[in-house]
């Protein structure tokens, strides 16, 4: 498992190095490879979050699909917030509710929580094992299953395919 972890970290660091430099001279690449290798060897033993990545064609496809779903939700959320802010009476109905997730991997849970924070009227306040506490601008339902269906599911069903 360790090899996979270090490889994933190495690839991520190398692509960041290339994006930073934005040029493909041979010296720059050599330095980048050496640096990413050293950093991923040093940090790789401690950082195990990359273990959960699946290297397959399907996961790449679902990542891109996820990005599209996420961006659409992001725009929707902003229009929602903008509408609420601009209405003079300030139509809000806030509260903190519970939802459940089936994701086990830490990475997947972080991405899920971040997505929830950035989407319509919801903000992750706390996470305890598989319970997510979410602050809503407009509380739909206090029941845990209904809330899960309304808020979490649309992201989760894609993330399950990527992170298992």
């Amino acid at each position: 498992m360790k090899i996979k972890n270090i490889t994933a970290l190495f690839l991520i660091l190398l692509s960041i190095w290339i994006l930073l430099n934005n040029q493909f001279q041979i010296e720059v690449m050599i330095i980048g490879v050496i640096l990413s290798f050293v950093i991923s060897i040093i940090m790789g033993s401690r950082i195990t979050v990359f273990n959960e990545l699946k290297f397959s064609l399907g996961s790449v496809f679902y990542t891109i699909w996820y990005l599209f779903v996420f961006l659409a939700e992001l725009v929707k959320s902003n229009l929602d917030v903008a509408r609420r802010v601009l209405t003079p009476s300030l139509p809000i109905n806030p509260g903190i509710i519970k939802t459940k997730t089936v994701l086990k991997s830490k990475m997947g849970r972080m991405i899920l929580a971040n997505s929830i924070t950035l989407t319509p009227g919801t903000l992750t306040v706390d996470i305890e094992d598989d319970i997510l506490y979410i602050h809503c601008i407009d509380v739909c339902c206090e029941d845990i299953d209904k809330a899960t269906a309304a808020i979490v599911n649309k992201f989760e069903k894609i993330l399950v395919k990527i992170y298992g």
């Binding site: 660091l13 960041i16 190095w17 930073l20 950093i39 830490k106 849970r109 972080m110 992750t124």
Partner: protein
């Protein structure tokens, strides 16, 4: 009353001092002679695209050595003052870290380290250099400590990195005296093609050592100020 008027007088005094600066100043339209020399002949003499780096590392290299020494002294005094007597361990009740912050820090810390190293390797091409890179690396350490506050950071490693990079910095300077024109002269290595990563002679090497040294010193200050890092 007397105190207030004294404060008032001091403020007025400073205002007058600084206003003097302000009245005579109308904005520059041209560089002065020294700056003009640095700007015009800097690229050929030093080979560094970033003129600030040229000034910091070569033209005023000795000042940089002094400044790194001052920083070292500050870090040493901080660690000396905060040393606690052995056996004074208090058990602290900490609020646990949120899992999201923990995961995010694990992703971001290697990225921050890589970016810090990018900043000081590219010090002669883009803004940045040893001081900024060191600060960024120390910030990565801070993120690590924020996510896992109970973690102990190896003081020995920090001290080791600091001493090795400091000694190497001075040795490069001395090598400049022996093999080239003077202390910290950058023609120790060939200048290379202007604008590429292997250019500007010895500047990238010096900046790597300065970056490691500054990063280690700032990390030392931070780990000393953090609550549970005070082993004797």
């Amino acid at each position: 009353m007397v105190k207030n008027s004294l404060i008032f007088i001091v403020l007025i005094g400073f205002a007058v001092l600084l206003a003097d600066l302000f009245v005579g100043f109308n904005g520059n339209t041209d560089l002065n002679t020294l700056a003009n020399h640095y700007a015009v002949s800097g690229p050929e003499e030093v080979g560094s695209a970033n003129l600030v780096t040229a000034v910091v590392v070569t033209y005023r290299g000795l000042d940089t050595l002094g400044e790194v020494t001052i920083l070292f002294l500050a870090a040493a005094i901080v660690s000396f003052l905060l040393k606690v007597e052995a056996g004074a361990s208090r058990n602290r009740k900490l609020r646990s870290t949120s899992e999201i912050l923990d995961t995010a820090s694990k992703i971001l810390v290697p990225v921050i380290f890589l970016f810090g190293i990018y900043v000081f390797i590219n010090g002669h091409l883009s803004p940045g250099g040893g001081f900024q890179g060191g600060a960024i690396i120390a910030s990565g350490l801070v993120l690590m400590l924020l996510a896992q506050p109970a973690k102990e950071v190896g003081h020995k490693l920090i001290t080791l990195v600091e001493s090795i990079s400091g000694i190497s910095f001075v040795l490069i300077g001395v090598a400049g005296v022996l093999f080239a024109a003077g202390f910290l002269d950058n023609k120790l290595l060939s200048l290379g093609k202007f604008g590429t990563i292997f250019s500007a002679g010895v500047i990238p090497v010096i900046y790597i050592f300065v970056g490691l040294k500054v990063g280690a010193e700032l990390s030392g200050i931070i780990t000393n100020l953090q609550e549970n890092q005070n082993e004797a």
